[in-house]
Amino acid sequence: MDWALLIGIFPQVLLDGILLGFMYALIALGYTMVYGVLEFINFAHSEIFVLGAFVGVEILLSLQSHGWLGRIPWVIVLVMVILAGMIASGLLAVTIERVAYRPLRHAPRLIPLISAIGVSFFLQDIIRLIESVWRNAFNLVYPTIEVMNRRFEITETIDVSVRSLVVIVAALLMLWGLHVLVNRTKIGTAIRAVAEDQAAASLMGINVNRIISLTFLIGGAMGGAAGVLFGIQYSLINPYTGFIPGLKAFTAAVLGGIGNVPGAMLGGLVLGLLEAFAASYMSLLTGGAFGAEYKDIFAFSVLILILIFRPKGLLGEVVRGRA
């Protein structure tokens, strides 16, 4: 076995894992916040994420076609695109909740889940339909912003691109913002109160429906931001891109303890790292018999193992006993 190689690629893999982890963490927040409030898996969250990616690519493409992409400072472009993705995805999430989930809030548990799956499939094809009519293509490539492709060489074998740094910084900023929002503000208190006990919260004068909408808005916005960052990082998107990242982000949410906001962040990071290491090392360790193509299986196995042996997750003291 080539130990030098194994150790040599370690920092690069670590970096990739962290990057992936932040991406999962951002998406996982949407799952975990909704689950915290409604005890319901928002299966359509992966499409909320994809919408963010598509809004981002549309804005960048139209800037490019007007020749403005190189002229506006890239930081402004970036902030604008992320904000637009957040707004679009947040509004979509709120709409979905109103149309497809709210009428089913008191139905048996599996009914809203099936509805959510339906919404997810519907949205995939709606995005495809709109892009097919509008652009005559639904596999889109993010236009490159020159600065983002610059790389810093740390050593000979390890380098980090500007866009990776941008993704990490943006993700950190948003996670921090969410943390403040949930823990330090009145709105955050209301969200936590509704998650704890809807009836009691409503007796305290909290408008439960509004808080639930707000939860979808915030979770959706995080998903939208993740979509834009995903597009910037991996550049190729299509309407079905969201499925696998969505599933993994859900795994991350369960891993961290579903319903738990810091848990989602931790779970995202852990899963991202595990997956990056599995993808890089599995092939080396098994002599090429099993390689990176099994990294998806790896994530699902983590999900199954966690659910069997520690269903409340790593930080999961928050799971309440309504189940």
């Binding site: 008191h106 548990r109 599996l110 339906g118 495809r128 293509a137 639904f138 599933l247 018999a289 193509e293």
Partner: protein
């Protein structure tokens, strides 16, 4: 009396129309609709049985002789109806949402595909394979057993999970099976990866009828067997245990239902139907690859069950028919029609259809169909088109507090 005449007339008329205009999809839909009408109309049961029997045994092959594609559709409907009936046991009767159902279908399909094609020689060496076509019938049983075993193996660790977690885990399992099928071409080539397996042997059928007609009858026989088994199961001890479990696990357990065993049975039964149909499917297609066993297929079968009504046997059959026909005929027909209009350069409201984007292919929008079905049914008619009697009563009075689904 009027209904009897109307039903008989509808079937007869639609068959004549289909044979006269064999290329009209609308008329074929009319024919299928007339069979449905026969099923729901208030006519003497002997007449209903006679009309349905004539429709399925005589008229359908006749229509198939006029337009072979219709027979293909009917065969597909049969395969999916059996799949839907299998999933109906898991989702409808036992109330376990299985989102990876297609995995069991894949297990059955691959078990015949590997041994029924020359591929097995690569694994075992020699030239003993493909097995003689007659082995197909043995593999119906073998596929059943292997799929049921897979169901139990999956069920053992995960069945303690609560409903929504179980759904996600089965989804993950479905993906795992697909990824395995995609990648097990090394280190030992078992599945031949994304390239798939071909040619897969087809069962020997009597030579006095055309092969496709024969295959249609084979599928029909299997579907009838599946329906009979389903009905017997529904009224059996275990069927009642499943329904009790679906309604309230805690109460069922208190009444002495062994939860884990009942759930395992449900998983195994559902999986075994899928396994059998997998064997049939691979023989029908001659070629299979992992693309036939995606999450989309699982949701398609789920949409059939939901549309017809969870826990309802006629519902599952009707749901399978409607969804399959929508995908295979309505969407495709719409695509063809749109293309014809495009090529003819028709203009609508001053917009030339020739300018329509080329990527716009209505045939590709299966997901939208499934999605719309799932959402609309859940919001407006959760009991389905043909609700099961017990289910109907339950959903007519929604409880204020969701029944606790405990693990």
């Amino acid at each position: 009396m009027i209904q009897s005449v109307a039903a008989a007339a509808a079937v007869a008329l639609s068959v004549i129309l289909v044979t006269v205009f064999p290329r009209s999809i609308l008329l074929f839909l009319l024919f299928q609709g007339s069979l449905l009408f026969v099923y729901v109309s208030r006519i003497p049961s002997w007449l209903r049985a006679a009309l349905l029997g004539a429709g399925l045994l005589v008229l359908m092959p006749l229509v198939g002789a006029v337009n072979g594609y219709y027979l293909e559709v009917a065969t597909q409907v049969g395969i999916f109806a059996a799949l839907a009936l299998g999933l109906n046991i898991v989702v409808g009767l036992a109330g376990l949402l299985d989102l990876g159902y297609v995995a069991f279908f894949a297990v059955g399909a691959y078990s015949w595909a590997i041994f029924g094609s020359p591929h097995a020689n690569l694994i075992f060496g020699g030239t003993a394979f493909p097995l003689a076509p007659g082995w197909f019938f043995a593999f119906l049983v073998l596929g059943l057993a292997v799929a049921a075993m897979t169901g139990v193996l999956l069920g053992l660790p995960v069945l303690r999970l609560r409903g929504d977690y179980l759904a996600i885990v089965t989804l993950g399992f479905g993906e795992v099976i697909r990824v395995l099928a995609n990648n097990l071409d090394k280190p030992i080539n078992i599945t031949n990866g994304p390239k798939g397996l071909t040619p897969i042997g087809r069962p020997p059928l009597p030579s006095w009828i055309p092969y496709n007609e024969g295959f249609y009858f084979l599928v029909l026989v299997i579907v009838v067997v599946v329906i009979v088994v389903n009905r017997r199961l529904e009224d059996s001890h275990i069927g009642r245990a499943w329904e009790a479990m679906r309604e309230d696990e805690m109460a069922a357990q208190a009444m002495g239902v062994p939860l884990v065993r009942a759930k395992l049975m449900a998983f195994a039964c559902g999986a075994s139907f899928a396994g059998v149909m997998g064997v049939v499917f691979s023989a029908k297609q001659i070629f299979i690859n992992p693309e036939s066993f995606t999450f989309l297929e699982s949701i398609g079968v789920l949409a059939m069950v939901i549309l017809g009504g969870m826990g309802s046997i006629p519902g599952a059959v009707v749901g399978a028919t409607v969804v399959t026909v929508l995908n295979l005929q309505v969407l495709k027909g719409f695509s063809l029609w749109l293309n014809e209009l495009k090529n003819a350069g028709v203009t609508v409201l001053g917009y030339s259809l020739a300018n329509l984007p080329t990527q716009l292919e209505p045939a590709k929008y299966e997901r939208m169909v499934f999605g719309v079905i799932l959402v609309l049914m859940m919001i407006f008619r959760p009991q389905g088109i043909f609700p099961a009697r017990r289910r109907q009563r339950e959903l007519a009075h929604p409880q204020p507090e969701p029944p606790s689904a405990t693990s």
